[in-house]
């Protein structure tokens, strides 16, 4: 799951990151993901990983980094 998410988010940024994305990079605060990027990521997780993300769970505490996302997805 980690590699899949890192790869997809890197694609979303059009590979314009200065350094390879890591699981600890701040996706939201650093602007790696904007609003539309976030919508695409949620859609990707629901479609490709067959998981349902309730709107009330779309919070920074669940999506700040890839590590946060993985932790959140494991608890759902």
């Amino acid at each position: 799951m980690e590699a899949v998410l890192l790869n997809y988010i890197t694609q979303l940024t059009h590979e314009q990151l200065d350094t390879p994305l890591t699981v600890d990079d701040d996706l939201l605060g650093s602007g790696i993901l904007d609003s539309i990027g976030m919508m695409k990521l949620v859609s990707f997780i629901e479609t490709e990983l067959s998981m349902v993300i309730p709107p009330e769970d779309i919070l920074i505490e669940n999506f700040m980094t890839v590590k946060h996302i993985i932790t959140y997805l494991k608890t759902t």
Partner: protein, 383 residues
Amino acid sequence: MDFSWSTTQLAYKAKIISFAEANFSESFIKEDQEATFTRANWEKCAAFGLLGLSTTTAYGGATDKVDILTSTIAMEGLGYACKDNGLPFALNAQMWTVQYPILEFGSEAQKKKYLPKMCSGEWIGCHGLTEPNAGSDVFSMEMTATKVNGGYLLNGTKQHITMAPVADVFLIFAKTNPKLGAWGISVFIVDKNTKGLTIGKNRPKMGLRTVPFGNLTFKDCFIADTNRLGKEGAGWAITNSSLEYDRCTILAGQLGAMEKQLEDTIAFVKNRKQYNKPISQFQAISHRVADMRLRLETSRLLLQKVAWLKSEGKPATLESAMLKLQLSESFVASSLDAIRCNGGRGYITEHGVERDLRDAVGSIIYAGTSDIQKNIIAKLLGL
């Protein structure tokens, strides 16, 4: 692929058209000119059950599960038969940007307190997001909610808020953690008589004049923890959760108005004679009407696709941006064509043709301008 409606849905649309023709077929010219909101009409819609479409029966709503397809066709019917374009707009603004977020994110106590009274028309709700310095870039808002013992202190100003001057309940977005940008925004349910809240007067505008717009000012306005909607930082999710439902239904009302506009235009050009023949026989006229029909059909197809995607629980970010862009711009273009087809008659207020154009212009601005929709489409195409 099947975009057909069920017999139940079509029967419901027919029932709404009959209801609207019986109650809202007057001209509304006086209300439009004087920028008057008619609460009695709002209450008629509530009594008919329209305000329950975005809420479940447990909280005074219409059905056990919110049905976006039925809601969409219902609003198409209302838009078709109601001479006041503002009424469907205002109803949908409450239903999808106030009631639906409370239904989705609210505590049991919040749902029980607010939803039945909004469904019944006793209370009117409005959605406070836009600010003087935060329009398209809405998440750069300046309004703050500072944590204090037992709640929050709200400070700031909201601008151009639909129904604010007549509302009883206000869904207010404010920063609880300014460092987090869009992810530090929370939502609060504010009651009308809360100390520190000042409700501005109606600000008359170009179109949709029967819908009051106003400003809201908050000065050390204390809101209890129990009136925060959802978790801290849920503002972005709350906005996005209802956005596509809001798009479908508000635009469905406009689609209904476009259908009626086309029918009226066809009837007029077939009857109006110049140079000893109906003006419909001049291609300058008939081509305009053909363009109006094409805009209606393309808008309808996009609307039905978005409503269908949402009914299937699927994302529709790209499709809803295209829908908003296409339908709102089409309504403007077709309204201008309707005036051209009507000639001088279309320019005179008493005939009820020119109002559509004034009402339509609002739709290319509110809830994401046409330029913002193009930005979204381009971004989703990887540009």
